[in-house]
């Protein structure tokens, strides 16, 4: 393949990813208290990238984990984090706190 074509495809991919980041994603907040998620169930729009801001109000560390969403992130005690999810197809996606999996459970409904 001609080098110019490769360059063009590369530039397009770069431009597309920049454009994608510039378009701000709607933000949803979740809190962790006593190893529970508040709200434990959240509804977000389908086919939309969403910014989750998660506050850990406990003194202990937690790890936000979801096999359904392909997400995994440590949140230190008394701290916060940001996780982007989606665009997703309509359905229910489970998440949990890996360090306290018995209590810290939640679901994201995509509609």
């Amino acid at each position: 393949m001609n080098f110019k074509y490769i360059q063009m495809i590369f530039m397009f991919a770069l431009w597309f990813s920049v454009l994608n980041s510039v378009l701000a994603a709607p933000e949803f907040k979740i809190e962790i208290k006593n190893h529970l998620f508040f709200p434990a169930e959240l509804t977000i729009p389908a086919d939309t990238k969403v910014k989750l801001r998660i506050f850990n109000r406990d003194d202990t560390n937690e790890e936000f984990e979801s096999y359904d969403l392909n997400r995994e992130k440590v949140i230190m005690g008394n701290s916060q984090t940001v996780i982007f999810v989606g665009p997703l197809k309509p359905g229910s996606y489970e998440f949990f706190g890996e360090f306290y999996p018995k209590t810290a459970q939640g679901k994201i409904h995509v509609e």
């Binding site: 994603a25 790890e63 440590v74 230190m76 005690g77 984090t81 940001v82 996780i83 982007f84 997703l88």
Partner: protein, 261 residues
């Protein structure tokens, strides 16, 4: 508490244990002393402690996606170290052992930094809780023990095979490991919104669920992902090609060059 800490620690230890045993098996085939594993583990542990100690600061970078960027960088460094290792290991049949050792030390050390820091963050959460701390620590010891045993078994299993087939199996495991690491780079960058996201291409969770034992084992060894998006699939294939194909092409190229000159 005991059981969940066994599972958490095992998951973290397993990746490092498998990488280490494959590299050790390839070392012993080449008559490289296995002593390099000590500085690798030591460097990794120091790095993991440093990362965990500064975790709060790093995590807050770039509006709280610093953790993803740092982890993506670590995963990328693991892939690069393993690629350099594979090239040197295949192109030079006898020489360049020191450079090969350096690549192995780097690959193992970066893996220990990544997984070790997560273990420290997990355990440190229970430091002040005298009620559950003993059972969490016990779970951690059992989990590390199981992980180390699986690694040891793999090492001896690879050493039992004939040299040629063991090398092939070791390379296959190594390339799947590197492919999993490249997939993690994409996952971390997507999670941080530094890379465009997309719908998943397929869903194999009906066959092998990621939360099942098989799924977790496959995740540790091959970076198994039941619902990957296009970027993740591309990264995975690129990882395999980097380790399996690139060294062979370079070796062929060198042979042609040497035959000409």
């Amino acid at each position: 508490m005991l059981l969940s800490s066994v599972v958490i620690i095992l998951r973290e230890v397993l990746e490092g244990a498998i990488l280490l045993s494959v590299l050790l098996a390839l070392s012993s085939q080449r008559d490289i002393s296995l002593r390099w594993s000590l500085p690798a583990l030591l460097l990794g542990s120091i790095g993991a402690t440093g990362y965990a100690a500064n975790f709060e600061t790093i995590a807050a970078w770039f509006d709280y996606v610093g953790q993803d960027i740092a982890n993506a960088t670590l995963h990328l460094l693991i892939v690069l170290s393993l690629t350099a290792f594979a090239i040197l290991h295949q192109v030079y049949e006898r020489s360049h052992n020191n450079a090969i050792i350096a690549c192995m030390i780097l690959a193992v050390a970066f893996t220990v930094v990544r997984e070790g820091s997560e273990i420290i963050l997990y355990l440190s959460g229970y430091m002040n809780n005298s009620e559950v701390f003993p059972s969490v620590m016990l779970g951690g010891i059992i989990g590390s023990g199981i992980g180390a045993s699986i690694g040891t078994l793999l090492y001896y299993a690879l050493s039992c095979f004939l040299i040629n087939s063991a090398r092939k199996i070791a390379y296959l495991l190594l390339s799947l490991f590197a492919a999993g690491m490249s997939l993690h780079v994409v996952t971390m960058l997507t999670q941080a919104d530094w890379m465009a996201s997309g719908h998943s291409l397929w869903d194999t969770s009906g066959w092998i669920d990621e939360s099942s034992l098989t799924g977790q084992l496959l995740y540790a060894v091959t970076g198994y992902e039941s619902t990957p998006n296009a970027n993740q699939v591309i990264a995975y294939i690129a990882g395999i090609l980097l380790l399996l194909l690139l060294p062979r092409l370079l070796k062929k190229g060198f042979e042609v060059y040497e035959a000409k000159s």
